[in-house]
């Protein structure tokens, strides 16, 4: 307390030796992060750093192996592939609990409050309240301080909320169509096509009353194209579904012709079974957005080293590519950015939109 008072009293511009030291170190590290081969840094120093980071990594791996297991609460559709790859690489077992975010979030919070933390690592959608609360209450660590090397080079555009949680996966929101009812050439390729009256009664939407993410997908459309767009969408007399599976099955069965937003893996599974489903490819200039799955590490993780190593794996190029290998999901570190054709990605502002705004949108739809 006293120290902080002293430091605020210090006249601006006067730096202690330690401050300058920190500043230089920080800058050097930032430079290194931006461009590892920056000529400002002497070769010897770079080598020294890389050996020290290698040493840190080796220690992390050794510690993680000693713990032998990591508990992973995951809401993405297919967390199994990345877990298996991790086990294969390090021989550390992943205790995987796949549950929807509406169970995962309150469960994680209640367990943390009861001081019986089970999850080492969580991956769950960007729900601003949840992430900020968990960080404020001290249940999640800031990965910058946790010693997760890949986090330091993570693209800053893809960190979210107070805890600066990295996006492990983006699930793009697209439109699925029934190939028996609609041909690829007549399927909508712009958002304006979607409100063409010819689709009246033939559209399925995620129910904005049942699910915040679904509400956000509509709010996003309203933000982008105005409230009149949402009114027009309501005039299409869509059918509403509370989760992805019924939504997909409605379009697969021909009950409707179009569905927004389907979940890639549900589509993929149904197509494998012979369902006549296609996914609309929006034209390149069309904005796209998606559900963002963020990664967090428990502050009181039962397996702290394994937790950090697993987080490191998911955020590394290798792990992130594996995690996002199927179902058209995007990993932001795979190619150092977004897939070609999706440079117009906008982070979902709607994830933080107010209840009033959501209610207004629901009213505009005529619900």
């Amino acid at each position: 307390m006293k120290n902080s008072k002293d430091s605020t009293k210090k006249p601006l511009g006067s730096f202690s030796r330690r401050d300058i030291f920190t500043l230089c170190g920080g800058t050097a590290m930032m430079m290194a992060a931006i461009h590892p081969a920056t000529p400002f840094i002497g070769l010897a120093k770079a080598q020294q750093e890389s050996t020290s980071s290698n040493k840190a990594m080796e220690d992390l791996i050794a510690g993680a192996k000693k713990e032998g297991t990591v508990t992973f609460y995951a809401s993405p559709i297919n967390p199994r592939i990345v877990s298996d790859a991790f086990t294969k690489k390090y021989g550390i077992r992943v205790d995987l609990l796949r549950i929807g975010s509406s169970e995962l979030n309150p469960r994680f919070a209640a367990e943390a409050a009861a001081k019986s933390v089970a999850a080492d690592v969580i991956v769950t959608p960007n729900d601003v309240n949840f992430w900020n609360d968990m960080y404020k209450e001290g249940h999640l660590v800031n990965l910058g301080e946790a010693g997760v090397p890949s986090y330091k080079t993570y693209p800053a555009d893809f960190l979210r909320n107070d805890v600066k949680a990295p996006i492990a996966q983006i699930v793009p929101f697209v439109i699925a169509y029934n190939k028996d009812e609609v041909s690829a050439s007549t399927a909508p390729t712009t958002w304006q096509d979607f409100i063409d009256p010819k689709w009246k009664g033939k559209i399925a939407l995620g129910d904005p009353k049942a699910n915040t993410t679904y509400a956000a997908t509509i709010v996003e459309l309203a933000d982008k194209f105005g409230e009149e767009y949402v009114r027009a969408l309501g005039r299409q007399k869509p059918l509403y579904y509370s989760s992805s599976l019924p939504l997909i099955q409605a379009v697969a069965s021909g009950e409707v012709s179009l569905a927004y937003p389907p979940n890639g893996i549900n589509v993929e599974l149904s197509v494998k079974q012979g369902a006549p489903l296609g996914v609309v490819k929006m034209r390149a200039e069309q904005e796209s957005w998606g559900g963002e799955q963020l990664l967090g590490v428990s502050r009181n993780a039962p397996h702290p080293s394994a937790a950090r190593l697993f987080a490191e794996f998911i955020l590394s190029k290798e792990g992130n590519a594996i995690m996002n290998a199927d179902a058209d999901n995007w990993g932001v570190v795979v190619s150092g950015g977004l897939p070609i054709g999706h440079e117009h990605y906008i982070p979902m502002k709607a994830a933080s939109s107010s209840k009033e705004r959501v209610n207004r949108i629901i009213a505009l739809l005529g619900l």
């Binding site: 796949r98 919070a109 049942a210 509403y240 149904s270």
Partner: protein, 602 residues
């Protein structure tokens, strides 16, 4: 004449003080005098009340603390939402469906139990199929069949009508409608009515009906004047269960209501809890209190039926005689089979077809395959463990809950009017009107950490299941106890038997049919449990509910269908075995002869 006969049998004698005359003191008004059985009952009761209240308290107390001070502001905020529309529509749906379920369920139970149109053990289990199916799968089943565009039944009807030149674009049925929602509720509620009323019918004294027929009353007169009043407690309990589950039901409206444009309380409540982080407890509280009013009202009304005591009670000495329906026998059978076909076979068939087809839609008749079943059984590492766990929890949880419910019911019945047991009773029933989701969160906060450290154990699941489902068992045992009446127990006590002995030798065997149905109810609910499990179960204590949710979130309708069909079949086998076993024992006269001898000896 008839009424006289009824009255003679149903007259309740003034309660006889049991054992030595108690010393009257200030405490005697609060709690009844204790003996060994009483002490055990009180311990069970206290433990259950603690389990029900403590976790809930941990959550609710937070709600009423504003900045460290107790505040009632949340209660005011709970009602700052439009409530009238949703209440009215819920009452319409639940009221209509409960009435229909009471009619259909009682009729089926009567045909099966009291007439010669019964098919034996098979007809005891057939009407229960919709109840063995996880409700979410049943709802999906209705959509697969009666969705206006691609519903399998609609498609079939349209192809027939097309062939005779009548072209329909959609329909003729529409599950997304008032009647669709109400009928889906009804089919869900009928098994509860059927179970409870069957148990009641099995317990009434057939000599009453016999007397009535001898005195010249016809079939219908006897039914209305004798049989119905005799099973009044069971009908009351059945109506209570139907209303209660109607208000609590979430899975079916979540699939059907949004597209029917109908707002339902339970759906809205669960959305408040699960859709937002942190859960909107205040708003959920507002809706919860409305549900409390209706379910509480039903409970009080049921209590009045039980207390009225104008129904026939068992007086020892039973025989079995069944009404001969004569020419009506086959129409009754067809009615029975017709209901079973529409409510059970059709949706099960729909689910199976979708499982074989791989997805819901254009049927690929030449390519039907078992992939979905294989996926569910073999490609799921935790499946076998989940089945074993759920089965064990259903078995043990059911037995514990039903045993506890029987003890509690009788204890409450004996201590009528005392304050403390009444409070405890109310507390134990409280979880009935509170979302299982909240109770599960309370359990995490209360028991997962030190000093209990129950996290990821089967024990925490067991305890939570018992707390959540005990009130349902109580409804069934209350009805049974009321039907037995107090005469036999009093007679036994006068003859010097202790309470424990009376319980063991008289009340328990006489309540057996009701206890078995109560157990079946618990077993099935625990087996397909979906609200508590996702919060309390994990990789070390997996249960089937998890797999169902997984199929819903992450699989396909084919996998959900395969899983549900399999689960339904497992439950069928279990129930047929148990019911068959009970029938066999009853036919051999095991419980009844013991009772009769016990009663006679007494």
């Amino acid at each position: 004449m008839l009424i006289d006969a009824m009255h003679r049998t149903s007259q309740v004698d003034p309660p006889v003080p049991l054992g030595p005359i108690p010393v009257r003191g200030r405490w005697s008004r609060l709690a009844p005098r204790l003996n060994f059985f009483g002490i055990c009952s009180v311990c069970i009761m206290a433990m259950l009340a603690f389990l029900a209240v403590y976790p809930l308290g941990r959550i609710v107390v937070r709600l009423f603390y504003d900045d460290g001070r107790l505040s009632l502001a949340p209660l005011a905020r709970a009602f700052e939402q439009p409530l009238l529309g949703v209440t009215v529509s819920t009452v319409i749906v639940v009221g209509t469906s409960a009435t229909l379920a009471l009619l259909i369920g009682s009729l089926l139970a009567w045909i099966n139990e009291r007439t010669d149109a019964s098919f034996g053990a098979a007809s005891e289990v057939l009407p229960l199929i919709p109840f063995l199916m996880p409700p979410i799968a049943a709802a999906v089943g209705w959509v697969l069949l009666f969705s206006p565009g691609a519903g399998l039944v609609n498609v079939a009807i349209r192809s027939i009508s097309d062939s005779v030149g009548l072209h329909l674009a959609r329909g003729p049925f529409d599950v997304y409608s008032w009647y669709g929602l109400i009928l889906a509720y009804t089919v869900f509620q009928v098994p509860y009515v059927f179970l409870v009323v069957s148990a009641g019918l099995r317990n009434i004294d057939p000599s009453l009906e016999h007397q009535s027929r001898v005195c010249g009353a016809g079939l219908f007169r006897t039914t209305f004047k004798v049989t119905l009043p005799a099973v009044a407690p069971s009908l009351g309990a059945a109506a209570m269960l139907a209303v209660w589950f109607g208000f609590a039901l979430f899975s079916i409206p979540s699939v059907i209501a949004p597209n029917a444009g109908i707002d339902v309380l339970s759906l809205k409540l669960v959305t408040y809890l699960r859709n937002d982080y942190p859960p909107q407890l205040e708003k959920a509280l507002g809706l919860g209190l409305i549900i409390v009013v209706f379910v509480g009202g039903a409970w009080l009304w049921q209590g009045r039926i039980l207390r009225a005591g104008r129904h026939a009670t068992i007086s020892g000495g039973q025989g079995t005689s069944k009404t001969n329906l004569g020419r009506l026998r086959w129409p009754a059978r067809l009615l029975f089979l017709g209901y079973v076909f529409i409510s059970s076979i059709l949706p099960a068939l729909g689910l199976t077809l979708v499982a074989l087809n791989g997805y819901w839609g254009r049927m690929q008749w030449s390519k039907l395959r078992l992939d979905a079943f294989r996926e569910v059984i073999f490609n799921n590492e935790r499946m076998q463990q989940s089945i074993i766990n759920s089965f064990g929890l259903g078995l043990i949880g059911g037995i514990i809950a039903v045993g506890a419910a029987a003890v509690l019911t009788l204890y409450i019945q004996r201590s009528s009017g005392k304050v403390l047991p009444k409070i405890a009773d109310g507390l134990i029933r409280l979880p009935a009107v509170i979302s299982g989701f909240i109770i599960a969160l309370g359990f995490v906060i209360a028991f997962s950490g030190p000093p209990f450290n129950l996290q990821t154990t089967l024990t925490i699941l067991l305890l939570a299941y018992i707390v959540v489902y005990l009130p349902q068992a109580l409804v069934a045992t209350d009805a049974a106890a009321s039907q037995i009446g107090r005469d036999l127990a009093d007679a036994s006590a006068i003859s010097g038997a202790k309470m424990g002995r009376t319980f063991r030798r008289i009340q328990l065997p006489l309540m057996a049919p009701a206890l078995v149905s109560a157990w079946a109810l618990m077993y099935v609910r625990i087996m397909g449990e979906l609200t508590v499990s996702p919060i309390l179960s994990g990789t070390r204590n997996p249960v089937i509910g998890f797999n169902i949710l997984e199929a819903l979130n992450n699989g396909s309708y084919a996998i959900l269908a395969a899983l549900s069909v399999m689960l339904t079949m497992i439950s069928m086998v279990v129930l047929v075995t148990v019911f068959g076993g009970v029938r066999w024992l009853t036919r051999r006269g095991v419980p009844l002869s013991t009772t009769n001898q016990g009663a006679k000896r007494a």
